[in-house]
Amino acid sequence: MSPVVLVAIALITYGSRAAAVVLLPRPSPRFETILGRIPAPIFASLATATLLSDGGSLIGGPTLGAAVGALVVSPARSLLVCLIGGAVGYALSALFR
């Protein structure tokens, strides 16, 4: 890969980040309502994606245990509590593996 291609890729990446944040006007209230619904599903989807292998099957082991631990305590709606739950889940899975 040449430096020129790398710069082009960097520009594409920055452009995709800036397009909505810089160029778009503030959305209408109706569109804003729809946008407000997006974060929770995206985070749930990203969590799911990190738990799947390349073939689409669920990964096992301590990583899955950590996710289960975080999920169990997620009703507390605290990132710190989720991290602690994840750590406990990870440790228990590694212990009983």
Partner: protein
Amino acid sequence: MALTLPAAAAIAVFGTLYGAGARGVMGVPLTLASSLLVFSGALQFALVALLGAGAATLPLLLTACVLNLRHLVLGAALRPRFESGSLRRALLAFFLVDETFGFAIAAGNAAEGRAVGAVTERTLLFSGVTCYVAWLVGTLIGALGGGLAVVESVAGAIFPVLFIGLASLAVTRRSHVVRALAAAVLTAAVALLLPDLRMLAPVVAGVVVALPGGDR
């Protein structure tokens, strides 16, 4: 904001893996330059895989376009919360990645009234700089031959935990829980049936489940 540190540590570990993997296919200078200029783990790992397979320029550029599509959605979701001018938003845009988006949304949700914009922007900047530095340091260590393979497994476990925590913070209505569960199922289905589209599945699923119905 201290909660960004576990994510930054995990990002540093993945940066090390990226640096170690990339230096063989693009050399140390371009490996460092890629992290400095691109700052996108998913895309950079994909580029290394493509270059390793002998890909030409066009597939690299197309991959960059496709994988970056999700930034349009993340940026659109953040845009209503920003109150500053276009120059400051242009600076903040560089730090828009999955993790920093999550931290900014969560901090904005916790803030009240007129403070939402300032808190969201400040959190995006702080978490962005933290994660960026972690990614650069990790890349540097990996590119120079260091290794943290022992902690790779622990680092890999941080991301699902982080995103589950961020999802719980983003849920403010019962309908959000239903949408989040639907998006998770949709993502799993896409990953299973169309594995090539796995990287785009989270954003597609997030948008698809956000469109129908009202809020309860």
